[in-house]
Symmetry: C2
Subunit: 157 residues, 2 copies
DNA sequence: GTAAACCCGACTAGTTTAGTCAAGTAAATA
DNA sequence: TATTTACTTGACTAAACTAGTCGGGTTTAC
């Protein structure tokens, strides 16, 4: 299993989309500024999110991305899966052939942990994240800082 | 967060130690054969396990490693931690300075997931693994296959 | 027709994993 | 005390992956 910035960026970007949904299509440039994620990298991630039908795109000026389903119907697990990060912590991809075609000593333990991680992240939808107080606060901060021009966003990272 | 063969090997090797404890010190060569883990790699892992006082070593002929505590007092989380694999899935190492010194949008989510993974693996001791039926079965298989010479272990992987 | 935005593929520096290899040191037994 | 077994340490490495960059497209609103 890996859970790196790739998966975290994807979830963060999708949450940004959910939070700003009422503004119409959101450009990757906007997400890039608000969330401080490289635009080119976002393009890579959104290519995969689009392939998995989690977002749809609108081309041309004023275009951008929007969620292709209700935020209630998109779980964090689905997003991480879409960008090819696996939540599986077994070595054998759950097949039980970890040692000469048979189960290794700790197979059951890793299956169990994988199931718990998956269950947790499947139980969390974008909609439930949007409702959290912490998320609301950060979102307000991000939007106000930007509108007030307080952040020098130009060349940062 | 990473959970790779490094952490899995460490847990497997420690469980092997717990299962074969009554035989006295267990050599890395034995663990290497039973669990099919490279001897040199085991040496690296056990150096770290010893530094964290999870095992103690006995030198000389007939020597090897043994658990330095009761198996009830060693958790899977401790073992993974000892070999420098982090169970933390945040980007900021829980510090909350993920975005320009303040929390990123998904900070709380990753803290929550990290806590759950840690709680799960902390709740599992070597002793509780030893008692599991699946583990018992695999252990019996490993020992009998070896004593009967059914496994060609020489050049495999 | 031009600019805003998405789309796509090639490339890459750096890090980590999962080891190998070689040269030791410590201690039990003959 | 010689020998052997086993631990100990450190240097090295191929392959894979991450987290990007770069350069060119294409689509569409105005």
């Amino acid at each position: 299993m890996r859970l790196t910035t790739k998966g975290r960026y994807a979830v963060t970007a999708m949450l940004d989309l959910a939070l700003n949904a009422e503004k119409g299509p959101i450009s990757l440039a906007d997400i890039s500024k608000r969330q401080e994620i490289s635009l080119s990298y976002l393009e890579q991630l959104f290519a995969k999110l689009r392939q998995q039908s989690l977002v749809s795109s609108v081309r041309g000026p004023g275009g951008g991305y929007k969620l292709s389903r209700e935020p209630e119907a998109i779980s964090v697990a689905q997003i991480i899966d879409a960008v090819n990060e696996s939540l599986d912590v077994t070595n054998c991809e759950r097949q039980g052939n970890c040692q000469q075609g048979q189960q290794c000593l700790t197979h059951h333990l890793w299956i169990d942990l994988s199931d718990r991680i998956h269950a947790f992240l499947s139980s969390i939808s974008l909609a439930s994240l949007v409702q959290q107080d912490e998320v609301q606060e950060v979102s307000v901060r991000q939007n106000s800082a930007r509108e007030l021009g307080l952040l020098d966003v130009s060349g940062v990272q």
